[in-house]
Amino acid sequence: MKTSISFSLLLLLLGAATLLNIGLGSVWIPPQEVFQSLFHGPLIDQSHEYILWSYRAPKTATAMAVGGGLALCGLLMQSLFRNPLSGPYVLGLSSGASLGVSLLILGSSIGLPGWALIENTGIGRIAAAALGAVGVLALVVATASRVKDTMALLLVGLMIGSITSAVVSIFTYLSDEQSLKQYAIWTMGQLGGIQGPWLYGLWILVVLGVLLSIPLAKSMNAVLLGESTALSLGIDLKTYQWMVIAITGALTGGITALVGPIAFVGLAVPHLCRIGLQTSDHRLLIPAVLIGGAIMMLLCDTVAQWPGSASRLPINAVTSLVGAPILIWLIWRRKKAFV
């Protein structure tokens, strides 16, 4: 009963955040026009119609998929590492994806052999980002199997972040202005302008990730009780681990390639959901983080587009400003943290 109330509330919030995201932007469109266009039919003002349907609606759909996908990654990783501070950004997956993309964008400009052959757009970029993310994740998993200390894992993530930024800064020093600019723009994150096949592709990726994660919920619950308990419950730990690695690598890689590195959504949302729902049952948490991630991304994007102003804040900066304080707060109340 309590759960259904919580979920109704979440869905209500999602609806509100969606309306807010579509309704607000740098151009003021009166709410009655927004409602008319959404529920009745095309507006007389064609430019408003374009803004709503060609720009804002795809951006809203992108934000939902990105938020849900990253939050799901965070949940999967927190369960895999049994570490409340895990998330695609904190553990260096986003950095790995960035490294892949920087190799692609900047590498060809400084004449690294081979990179010039790969098309520097679309599929090539997604592949580079996914490879980078999976590579880092494999490294983190290898560390996790050697070192049981969870803090060590975070340190490894931090170090990977440092290595990435070092490599990237060497590249930026060597490469030409054009590539540099292209890369810098990518790192700021972009939700708008993702259209057509790319938007469908993003949704298919996230939906596939969700479908593959649902059967893992039971394993995730069991692993919470410790590896030996999970084993005694008949959980195939190897398969479970590899599934999580594959899903999070593909999701983080794909999402990061398309919209740039997005910080802290993956980390913060699962915690907020655990606290909100007062549960650590992953059968409930999976749908909850999907909705919660979408809500957080939609709200952050609404703030980023700064209603009524022609300037935009980088989306990555906004999610950090919202997400990082949540991380600090979590560390403070860590004794009480779930997981």
Binding site: S26, T121, R125, D176, A184, Q190, A257
Partner: protein, 383 residues
């Protein structure tokens, strides 16, 4: 030097959107010579099999890719409708309303008397042109991205007939959104031209788009004539003074490459540019030591990036005193000449008026040769 400042200016105009998909329309049926194009390498004219005129623009990221636009006079409705069913980017001529993204586009429009067609611009304070500033005050030119990046919603609301893009090569996603709304974008790559007159030649593109072809050609030919005239004057000089350029930014000295826009101007001004031997068309990133070793005897230092004051340069980088031109205060900068809202005039006008840049250089490098001339952009740095 132009290159490093361009780089800094670009940092300011970073849009915050990645780029994932590029919609290039095939083609280029090249008949550029028909239009007497000689210097610019970034655009070319042609025609479709049906006989429509086309403009093709080179991508700055992938130089082998060209985007092409079909240009049809507004009066020929039927042709426009037919062309739109076959081609993605159809532009009706003359274009009645524009959104601009780079200050270099302003003086060209002003020269053609078409500033009244401008509806929006990214980063209004950068504009120095008096008539453009009046239009801004009147509210007829609107801000479409205060931070220098194009705000898509504002543009969609203004609904211009055409956008002359600049940094949008990086955000093809946006180009796609705009073209869906029937607003084509031409990526205006004048700044990519390495030949000084090549940048000026882009005025011909404006001329065709705005039905001011004759005026554009006349203007261009005048600039070419004047450039050649000054170049000849420079040849009378008895010396070829050595020149260093650029400045240190975070421990890296960015100097114009040997094949860059600026290097060509140095050479035409009869200067011995000390980094002429490099093949770079952009800027070179060198260590301070390398530059000092090579250029410590330089007679002139031209265009030290954003610097305007000798003393400020000295405190910024004491190593500058190793350069002879610096100790002898032969440092010439373009950054002192600013418009009413702080935009550097050189950035706005130099692309269209390389003849003025050349005249300025000759004036400073060979005193006495340019009699009765007042420099347009350059000054000695303040003490």
């Amino acid at each position: 030097m132009g290159a490093i400042v361009l780089f800094l200016a670009n940092m300011k105009t970073f849009t915050r959107h990645g780029c994932y998909f590029i919609h290039f329309i095939l083609v280029v049926f090249c008949t550029s010579s028909l239009y007497g194009q000689t210097y610019a390498k970034g655009f070319r004219w042609g025609s479709t099999p049906e006989g429509y005129k086309t403009l093709a623009v080179r991508s700055s990221i992938q130089p082998e890719k060209w985007t092409s636009y079909v240009l049809i006079p507004r009066a020929q409705h039927q042709k426009i409708i037919r062309a739109k069913s076959t081609y993605k980017q159809v532009i009706s001529l003359p274009v009645a309303s524009l959104v601009l993204t780079s200050t270099t586009q302003i003086p060209a429009l002003e020269a053609l008397g078409e500033l009244n067609k401008v509806r929006g611009f990214t980063g209004l304070p950068y504009i120095s042109s008096q008539s453009a500033r009046k239009a801004i005050e009147k509210g007829s030119i609107k801000e479409v991205g205060a931070s220098g990046s194009l705000d898509i919603e504002t543009v969609l609301e203004l609904a211009p007939e055409l956008i002359l893009g600049y940094t949008m090569d990086q955000t093809p996603g946006f180009v796609a959104v705009l073209s869906k709304a029937q607003i084509p974008t031409i990526l205006f790559q004048d700044w990519q031209e390495q030949n000084p007159l090549g940048r000026t030649e882009w005025i011909k593109v404006m001329g065709v788009l705005l039905d001011k072809e004759t005026e554009a050609n006349t203007y261009f030919n005048q600039v070419v004539d004047n450039y050649e005239r000054v170049k000849k004057i420079a040849q009378r000089a008895k010396t070829r003074p050595t020149v260093v350029s650029g400045a240190v930014y975070q421990d890296v000295w960015y100097v114009p490459g040997g094949k860059s826009w600026m290097a060509t101007l140095f050479s035409d001004a009869q200067a011995d540019y000390l980094f002429n031997d490099s093949d770079q068309t952009g800027s070179l990133a060198l260590s301070v030591e390398t530059v000092i070793e090579k250029a410590n005897q330089a007679a002139f230092w031209i265009a030290p990036a954003q610097h305007t004051s000798w003393r400020e340069m000295k405190s910024d980088q004491p190593a500058y005193t190793a350069i002879k031109a610096f100790t002898q205060k032969k440092v010439v900068t373009y950054a002192l000449n600013k418009g009413p809202t702080g935009g550097v005039l050189y950035f706005e006008q130099a692309a269209l008026r390389p003849d003025w840049v050349l005249s300025d250089l000759v004036y400073f490098l060979h005193p006495g040769i340019m009699t009765g001339y007042t420099p347009h952009f350059f000054n000695y740095t303040t003490p």
